[in-house]
Amino acid sequence: MSTVTGKAAQTAKGPQGRATAKSPAAGPGASQGRQVRRKPLGRQNAAGWLFSTPFLVLFLVFMAFPILATLVMSFTDFGLRNVTHPLDAKFIGFENYVNLFGDDKFLRSLLNTGYFVVVGVPLTIGIGLLVAVLLNNGIDRARTFFRVGFYAPVVTTIVAVAVVWRFVLDPSDGLISGLFSEVGLTGPDFLGSEALAMPSMIAMAVWRNVGTVMVLFIAGLQAIPTEVREAARLDGTGVWAEFKGITVPLLRPTMLYATVITTIGYLNVFEEPFVMTQGGPSDSTLTVSLNMYREGFNFFHMGYASAMAYVLFVVIMAITVLQLRLLKDNTK
């Protein structure tokens, strides 16, 4: 929350300047902010700037500038022709944004992404937590083995993962359809059917991301002081009550963090459909990011794709703020 306070302090004294600072309305935060500001740029500050210059340059060139350029572009009809003549792009106001909400394909991709998040996030968090608790308590000997096992998908490249999953899901000679044919049945066509393609994709994403969440939870679990647990056990608390009364509340900050980053990651989901289905069959796995990529780099509707990027940004922002509100308030 430190950024918010800082910002509030700045606006409180910003335009009015010194006069406001003296008025009783300005709280302690404001005067503190002023003090920091008035401090002369000493040798220490200069060194600070010097050391952060490489980062700042990189940040400006590779983050701030593209972000701004994309915003500008989203208000133009930037297309293929403008690649060599960028200044010929026409300013068209909010046309791209208006068009987006009449674009069935975009709405479909938004819906698909929503599906992915709504099903994928709880599964990832739930299974991640379960695995973490199991690994933290039980099976002492094989712990490392299992940790590596669950974490391996996280560090494997997506292409390798896709090859493996394609084999697992292949309707004719895949692992799963092989099991079906063992008992004389025909296995489902996971990636070729509209109903199953997205669930298959979610399963793969969950498998891939559980490791990340698990590591976070294990760290969180180990931060819980053993005295608390011991005290509870001495009082005769059962396993379930301990989990509900101690583990879950004390894990809340971790839970919040894991949920937020998983949600953001899933809202951006791209690689899975890009590698596995190219958005098919019939757009049933077309996500916003994949749609954006295709509009931008296959069709060169750069302006339109940029507008899409900003809509996605606003959605992510809104959901993140909402999550922070909801989950944070509960801790009090």
């Binding site: 590779f62 983050m63 500038f65 593209p66 972000i67 350029a69 994309t70 500008v72 572009m73 930037f78 293929l80 022709r81 403008n82 690649v83 060599t84 003549h85 960028p86 792009a89 394609r166 292949d170 309707p171 004719s172 000679d173 066509d189 996971f190 990636l191 070729g192 059917s193 509209e194 980053i261 953001i264 990651g265 951006n268 989901v269 791209f270 690689e271 590698v275 596995m276 289905t277 190219q278 098919g280 069959p281 019939s282 757009d283 990011s289 954006m292 990529y293 931008g296 780099f297 296959n298 069709f299 060169f300 750069m302 794709a305 940029s306 990027a309």
Partner: protein, 415 residues
């Protein structure tokens, strides 16, 4: 999070394209004569990129003043790399370009028109030449051509009681059914149900029925009765379970052809090499045939052209190099190295090219094959056709309805 990083990178590329160094123009004036000492930069894609480096060495020996620097570029990144180069004004002197790119890049104004005094249209397959032509101006010299023909397993056909190649749609479907029923193959014919470039599998049907996406006058005709008929036929393979409904990006048909799961597919000339090298046990057990006919036996024409960058300072030497690559001798040599079909028809009259029976099948198909129109937004147009095909193969719409939708979508794209 890698995903976030990727979005940032995309935005970065976009921004670089938007406000990038537009260094093009201005440098075209000082051209270097062909016999001066110089370095030619050449970009070629995929397997061609690897093999061209060998040819370049041969060429350098005969032309000691020229150093040819070949950069192989993967097909998957070729388009983006070329667009980025066009935006930044760093196009190579010579580049290989697929027919589908030509409209876009001539639109960007980065291509030098072909010197028609050096290169004569009459020497090349008509569909090869037309791929390099945009609005009546040639920008690319055809380097190699390809077309799709029918690959089928003769041994399995025999097992199913059929000894001759299918020549009509009816015979093809009968063979597919027989393969599945009597020879125990998993599928009857491998065609793509949906996904990018499905349309390439559809072209042999569409063109053979007498249809096309856009007619000679530039009118959109994808909802014509011929096109509907073609899509119905295409869709029937999925309805009847003769073709796989499942989308498999990166699917390798050669392997399944080898193990007999897939006994028929539409393939290009490169599949000959892939089968010879990858499935040697199949020798003598398969054959190629012309595309089974409806109104005619017409396949799609593909291939690549060679273009010279407008900004190049080595246009004279580049022209010489291309002259060698697309001349009779260079083309025959190239065929030997890559099995890419010569675009220059004169190269077909000698040696293997004149005698080989398989090649005659390609030659015959090539004479009538149709190239896609060179439009700047071709990718987007074919994407609409892909969507129509997907609707039909997944049983979501009738061929009529799917193509009607595609018609109106494409009409708004072709102005």
């Amino acid at each position: 999070m890698p995903r976030t990083a990727r979005i940032t990178v995309s935005a970065g590329i976009a921004a670089a394209l938007a406000f990038g160094i537009t260094a093009c123009g201005g440098s075209g004036g000082d051209s270097v004569a062909a016999d001066k000492k110089q370095t030619l930069t050449v970009w070629a894609m995929g397997a061609e990129g690897e093999k061209l480096a060998d040819v370049a060495k041969v060429y350098e020996k005969a032309h000691p003043n020229v150093t040819v620097k070949v950069t192989p570029v993967g097909w998957d990144v070729a388009h983006q790399k070329l667009v980025s180069a066009a935006a930044a004004g760093t196009m190579p002197d010579v580049a290989q370009m697929g027919g589908s790119y030509m409209g876009e890049f001539s639109d960007l104004g980065v291509l030098e028109p072909v010197d028609t005094k050096t290169f004569d249209e009459k020497d090349y397959f008509p569909s090869g030449w037309s791929q390099g032509e945009v609005d009546g101006t040639a920008y690319g010299v055809p380097w190699y051509v390809d077309t799709r023909v029918l690959y089928y397993r003769t041994d399995l056909a025999k097992k199913a009681g059929i000894t001759k190649a299918p020549t009509t749609w009816k015979e093809m479907q009968a063979l597919a059914t027989a393969y599945q029923k009597d020879a125990g193959t998993k599928w009857g014919l491998s065609i793509q149900p949906s996904g990018l470039d499905t349309v390439q599998n559809f072209y042999p049907f569409l063109y053979s029925a007498g249809g096309s996406i856009i007619d000679d006058k530039g009118k959109v005709v994808i909802d014509s009765p011929a096109a509907v008929k073609a899509l119905k036929e295409y869709g029937s393979y999925f309805d009847k379970g003769l073709s796989n409904k499942s989308v498999q990006p990166g699917y390798d048909v050669v392997k399944d052809f080898g193990n007999g799961r897939v006994p028929m597919f539409f393939g290009g000339p490169w599949h000959v090499t892939l089968l010879d090298e990858g499935q040697p046990q199949l020798k003598g057990k398969w054959a190629v045939a012309n595309v089974p006919a409806d109104a005619s036996s017409t396949s799609m024409a593909g291939g690549s052209s060679l273009v010279i960058s407008k900004d190049s300072e080595h246009k004279a030497a580049a022209t010489e190099f291309i002259k060698y690559l697309t001349g009779t001798e260079g083309q025959a040599d190239w065929y030997k190295r890559t099995k890419d079909l010569p675009a220059n028809t004169n190269a077909w009259t000698s040696g293997t090219l004149a005698d080989d029976a398989d090649l005659q099948v390609f030659k015959k198909q090539m004479d009538t094959a149709k190239a896609s129109p060179t439009l700047s937004n071709l990718t987007e147009i074919t994407d609409k056709v892909d969507q129509a095909i997907a609707k039909v193969t997944q049983g979501k719409a009738s061929a009529e309805d799917a193509l009607k939708t595609a018609q109106s979508q494409i009409e708004s794209l072709v102005k």
